[in-house]
Amino acid sequence: MISPIHILTIGLGGAFALGFVPKKAKDAAAVLMLAAIALMGVLTGSWLIGLINGESAQQIFTAGFKPPFSINLLMGLNESVLTTAVNFIGLLGGIYLYRNLKEAGNHAVMVFLIFIMGLNVVIMTRDIFNLFVFLEIVSIATAGLVILTESGKSIQAGFKYMLATGIISGVLLLGIIFAYYYSGTLNIDGLTAANIGALKGGSVALLLIMVSIILELKSFPANGWGLDIYEGSNAGIGAMLSAATATAMYFVLSKLLEMAGSEWNYWVALIGAVSFVGSNVLALKQRIAKRLLGYSSIGQIGLLMIILGFKDVLGDNTPYVAFGILFSHYFAKAGLFWLAGIVKQNDIANWAVIRKKPYFLFLMGTFIFALIGFPPFPSFFAKWELVMELVNTGNLPWVVAILFGSMMEAVYLFRWFGYAIKGENENIEDFKIEWNKILPVGIVAIALYVTGYFTSQHTDAGAAINWIPLFFVAAIFILDFLPVFIKNTIAIIGMAFYFYTIYPDLDNLRLVFEAIFMIGGILTLIAGYAYKGTRPGFYPVALLMYAGLTTIIEAQNTLQFFFGWELMTAGSYFLIIRGKRSMPHGLSYMLFSVGGAYALLMGLGMAFAGQGSYDMSIINSISYIPYWAYGLLIVGFLTKTAALGLHIWLPGAHGEAESDVSPMVSAILLKAGVFGIVLTLIGMGGENNAYPWLPYALGWLGAITAFSGNLMAVFQEDAKRLLAYSSIGQLGYIVLGFAMMSHLGWLGGFSYVVNHFLYKAVLFLTIGAVVLRVKTHNMYEMGGLIKRMPLAFTAVMIGIIALSGVPPLSGFAGKWLFYNAILEKGWYLQGAIMFFSGGIAFMYLWRLIHTIFLGQLKDNHRNVKEISIWFLIPIYTLLAGIMVYSVKPQWVLQPLGDIVAQWFPDGQLTWDGGTAFTKYGHWAGTAVAVTIIAAFLVVTALLMISTRKAHKVKQFDITYSGERPERPETTHVAYNVFEGLYQAMWVATIPLVEKWWNKVSDFLHDTAGIVRRIYSGNGQSYVIHIVLFIIVTYFVIIGG
């Protein structure tokens, strides 16, 4: 193999040779440069392959002497990975910047080449002074590249950069020379052996070296200059700085950290944490895309510093974790910077223009999800491993800091993405595609998926992940150009087949949920046939959600579970955000989901701690602060079930979603949270669990959620929001049921799970279909539609009777079980709240059916048609389910009872034929239904006998104070009908939760707004920041 020293030969030789290329032959120069970078890449790449295949790392000596007497370089596995990465991104970046470099001339091309070469040496060198020299090369080259495409801003940024790096390198030099004075060597390994940190002056020298490297990484808050060059320079250069330079500098830090000794680990981690959190918080206020990316880069480097600081804790996993995060950052950030250069929009709000070319949106989404750590990207697996290990070793505050910082990052990245997906883009000029610019972006995006896949294969838990659903998603994504009919059929067949293949392997508990997910999924997909055209982007994301859902069910280990959970979140986010006015709700949905996911992550980490396994069964025996662990898991799952306090995303998200998406996210998706809660509660040990306060609190939360959800539903004018609030309430019942931790409670809970799936799917589908016909969500704009759509009316009528719990329909089963459970458990007050909530539910249900279907038909609806047949098919299938459940409840409740009895054997229902007994009473579902139906039929018959030939009267044939009203708008009482109730209960409708979250948000944004003023833009103050940073670290680390 060729000695890596020839990177220098190639790089420098190429750069010097460029001097001979005639000024006119601009292409020749650029091509020569790309060839040189490619050659360096091939060289390092061949080393990478060789080292992976077991060759040993090579020391490169110069001048024919051994270190420490001469400078040596090292090509080990890490070095080969990183140099290859640098050269790879250098090549792509060179291609991206092709035109700019060409136009700037040979000199600029030389600078770019030397920049890449310098980074290679920085990674490989083992001599600290040599490191200093090549760092200078890199920073001078950077100062040159900043002004590649000149503007006043870039020159200013470049000057500030030079000022700051000048000071930093001076400090570094001072540290180096004193290190030499104390140890007599400049070799990093020699310095490591000399342990200069032990001396008083030596420790200061070490501090100066370490701090200057940390400052080179643009640590918060002495990093205003860094942000300026990200913003001021060409986006292609920003990509280089963020991907290549940061990668190399990070490795330098890791080299020097070994030299500094393990006592520095803590400080590096601490500075990293401050940087990660601080930078991400300040970014909240940022609206300039490139500067935003700068903040994010700095944050990510902070995270990487934390990982480095915990290398002793992470042990052999350190490279896996660090590379996972590093490479996600490397690809994604390069991609985003490049996109910024293509889109050419400064204000993130104007990124809506990216939607004009949908595949760019896909690229942007890929990068953003990779940055935040969603599957299937490497950062997901790395973050998982990191959190698991940190929790395992009890470093909880660190985990909290990491997750908080990540959360903030998610806020601004998703806000940006939200603008891209939903912002106004009418008046923004479209951008042009240049092939040399799109190529690198495409390559890094693909690389993210590929590296993600291979990262997952690295650990046993990750290798167990079933990728088939994801491949199916990918396939349907490729087929996205096909018409709806074909894609829908493929999707339905795919899901049905998949369900058929996996259902025998599932236990009964999982089968119940999987059936809801898959059968429900297929039924809601059928409604998709009603759509025309290609419906771009719908099927990949819908299937992504189902892929996540089924992965949750199938999960054998916690990693798989979390993987599925995040996939499901991502898919549902895209589904929700498809709605017309759903942007703000999509954002809040995502933020709550991400927050919830982090709670889960911590909880799962605590489960891992002390058990050392990822098997799903660890949830059943958490030993490390179990109260917290179970609590966090439950909180995580509650974000998905939209418990009070975590619910503010739901009404908007479900209400504004498309007609067939609302049932997916409401009837189906919410059950994923329930499934999680069920697993957690099982894990807590069922009846005699040792954590009585958790279910108790959960029970109250459920009851209050039920009450507030229902009450809010009453005051909605928007039909879909009404149903959305209703879902919050219904999920409150479910949570309360499971919280009771008794057989009856759980059976009630399960009964509700099944029922809510059935009737909420019916209601959302029907209302959604009606909305498609009448083109409004506002109930007061509808009315009298029973005349135009009797089938829809019937469906809603059955749906609301089932929901309200009025016998004989299936909803009563849940109610009956509930009150028996309540009495058994002794949770009377909660029970009373539930009952009251039921009464309130009645109001909104009546309102739903009355204001839409009854009352006065509006003039503009006189010719609307019955809802689409494609909606009616799933609706009536579900109704059949409700009817069967209603008439033969034992068919459903007995199997559910068997499932529940696995964990709650006591207090089961006893069955005598169709009659269920508890110790408090009994209920004969079939008999009751028969009795009522019989009575109903008899009475109907009597009426029919005595009312022969009743003729239908006209709409306005009503007595109205002696006059006949003529306008349906004024006669249809629909708007604000529950004013009386509002006057009595307005106190309970104050959106305290929303206010609270707004306060939190305002607080963070205000803080960011104030703190970021330290970045005054004055280069001088940046120097002061740097000096202060050094002083503060000195006093903190070494002390007075």
Binding site: I786, K787, P790, F793, S804, G805, V806, P807, F812, K815, W816, Y819, L823, G826, Y828, L829, G831, A832, F835, F836, G839, F842, M843, W846, I849, H850, L854, Q856, Y920, G921, H922, A927, V928, T931, I932, A935, F936, V939, L942, L943, S946, T947, K949, A950, H951, K952, V953, Q955, D957, I958, T959, S961, H972, V973, A974, V977, F978, G980, L981, A984
Partner: protein, 304 residues
Amino acid sequence: MTIAKLGYTLLGLFIVWNWGFLMGAIFRKIGARVSGRIGIPFYQPWINFFKSVGVRTTITHGVMYYLGPVFRLTGGIGLLFFMPLIYTGDPNGMWTNFSFEGDLILILYFQLFGMLGMAMGAGEGGHPYSAMGIARGLAQHAAVELPLTLAILSIAIQYDTFSMYKIVEAQQGGFQNWVLFTNPFAAGAIILAMLGAMGHSPFNLVKAPNEILIGPATEYEGTYLGFMQSAGSILHVMEAVLFMNLVFGGATSWPELIVKTFLIYFWSVFVGMVFPRYKIEQSITWFFKVPLVLGVLAIIVFSF
């Protein structure tokens, strides 16, 4: 057995139906006398009923409109089916109807059946006052339910059962065993909540549109109205029976039932004579005050 039981049940239904008419007439009369009028003859309800049924029904606004009274009447009849009328010492004995020992939850929820159907039926008529009345009714109903449920739960805790038959059984053997005395808080809450459930003044804003002779009752004529009058009479009695069973020891014979339901009904009429009508928000807040406190106390007392 079943045939015989069906016979008894239908007989019970007939008695209740008539007693409801008679009781209604008596209280109309009392009301008239209190306000210095002569009032109707005691047989007026029957006249009304037969006249309504006898008139040819000519109009309909649609299917739901048509089925509204059916729902209503089915609700009334069903309530009677699911509630034991008279305690005979045998859970499946005569006059216990098809109550399956009278599961309280079933009864509480089935009450809503007629209400719901009626609401939908009247809704299809398209009369604005129907909607207003129903909206008010539902709001008030929910407010009434809260103290009522608390009290009923308290009684259920007290006797450790949801079976109405068992609750009645436990109150046998003298009035000192009545819930009224054994669980005064619950009883208090029920007695107050009852006022709302009966729907007399001051809680009759729901029906207020009646006074100006429009709303559901005028929308429906002929047989529809007859059905609704029947349903009204049955429901009135059955509500009273519910409270009688819960608080006042049930009834061991028809005369006892008639006396007790009369007194229960009288209580609500008496209050109605004395107090003027509440606005809907006033009535809701009223139920959240004393009745709610009593209900919570009833729960607290029995949950330890």
